[in-house]
Symmetry: C2
Subunit: 270 residues, 2 copies
């Protein structure tokens, strides 16, 4: 699978009036425009695209029209733009996204029905985790993360598992940037984080507690391994304090191992 360690990208908008050199700047502009959308802004008028990218109105309109022509954007009846199905079609071929998900899904289903809690699958992308799949019941206590969204490596169960198994360089960088008390978890200092990562490697699972009094949560997470090492993390997230996390550790670990085995068999067959 692809390395999760490509150089990090800036998401700063291009400065207004900047002159695009054909080619390089245009690919960046295309992705700056596509990155204008977020979960609070799934539909944007031209003015929104202009404001969020810093592009001149004419440039934003031309790009948006071209992206609509290829199906990467779609246009609503009211003139606003939304992300199009063509991108879903292409993105579904990402080995670290839907490819992994296709193998993991039946096992996640099993875990979901045994536990009745949220089941999450995430991969690492540089210094963040990205949620690839989430199964939730109708009546489950809401969790903040949606599929395709980024999560911190230091404050989530899947993130901690991914961080504990990341290259030393990534770990050191994250430890360096760690802000004490961030994310309202039980890990408050870089020293505690370092200790936690060592424990996670030793036990091959993580327990993370979110202390937010409005919605306290406990997560049990375990690594998913392909031939090249840890490629994903699986977790069960449940409301505290009703939930005794130790009860789910064997189920989460066994399911993560089942997914790992099938991933390796799939790789061997491919």
């Amino acid at each position: 699978m692809a390395s999760p360690d490509r150089p990090s990208r800036g998401k700063e908008p291009a400065s207004p009036g900047e002159n695009p050199t054909p080619g390089e700047a245009l690919v960046e502009r295309v992705f700056a425009l596509l990155s204008s959308f977020d979960s609070e802004n799934r539909a944007l008028p031209l003015a929104g695209l202009t404001r969020r990218t810093g592009m001149p109105r004419s440039t934003a309109l031309r790009l948006a029209r071209q992206l609509t022509d290829v199906g990467a954007l779609e246009r609503l009846d009211d003139g606003r733009f939304v992300i199009g199905l063509r991108l879903l079609e292409i993105a579904s071929l990402a080995p670290r996204g839907h490819g992994l998900r296709a193998v993991a899904m039946p096992y996640m289903e099993d875990l979901f029905h045994v536990t009745g809690q949220h089941v999450l699958l995430a991969v690492r992308d540089n210094h963040q985790a990205l949620l690839v799949e989430r199964l939730s019941a109708h009546d489950a206590a809401p969790v903040r993360f949606r599929v395709g969204e980024r999560m911190a490596l230091t404050t989530t169960g899947v993130g901690l598992v991914l961080l504990a198994n990341a290259p030393v360089g990534v770990q050191e960088r994250v430890l360096q940037d760690f802000v004490a008390g961030e994310g309202d978890t039980t890990i408050r200092t870089p020293e505690e984080l370092r200790r936690s990562l060592a424990e996670i490697r030793r036990g091959d699972y993580a327990v993370a507690r979110r202390l937010d009094p409005a919605a306290p949560r406990t997560t049990v997470a375990a690594p998913v391994r392909a031939r090249e090492g840890v490629v994903a993390a699986l977790s069960v997230v449940a409301p505290s304090p009703e939930f005794d996390p130790t009860a789910y550790v064997p189920a989460v670990r066994a399911t993560a191992r089942a997914i790992s085995r099938e991933l390796r068999e799939t790789e061997a067959a491919g």
Copy 2:
């Protein structure tokens, strides 16, 4: 939601040596390159990108590198390119993809566990259906379609429901193009297809039978409605002849209605 009737796009590769005019041609080239990947070719070397796009090697390499820089592609250790997580992140914001899926998923889970069969959710995109979600058990008889893949409107249960509820122009166009006997279903002629569409509208559900002797299948499908009309189709696919499709009609219809109601509530709230 966006109209599923944008003009259809060609997927022909650019002719070799063609000179890109900056802007327009480049957006097309970016998507020609991203469209080189398919489910049999999730990882492509530079030579594969060159061959599949018809682009000069230098152009393909430059574009692939720029796409890797923004995370739209990722590069494997062996030098091959794959679709990157950045596209999954952007695509997850498509209202007709993950937006719809997020609402539908818990209900699809319910249907999956009541029936134990494949549960599919698809939307129409021009003259095809696109599979947005599929739930399948470990031991389910394999179905051909994967998430993000296109399906015919005339040979699948979800496709028939979407077609029966499409604008007259789309229906006439599809009827015109219909090749008798295509897809090995019980609908063999344009007249039979026309009659089936009328029946589906009357009954508000479809039963489709695939006759393939190696893997006979029956599908029960029903429409999902938002405020602007039918936006998706939900189905249960099960092996024939073990499966009596009439048994699942009420469950599929009730689940499609539950998703529809929640979609309208979500729209009203948004």
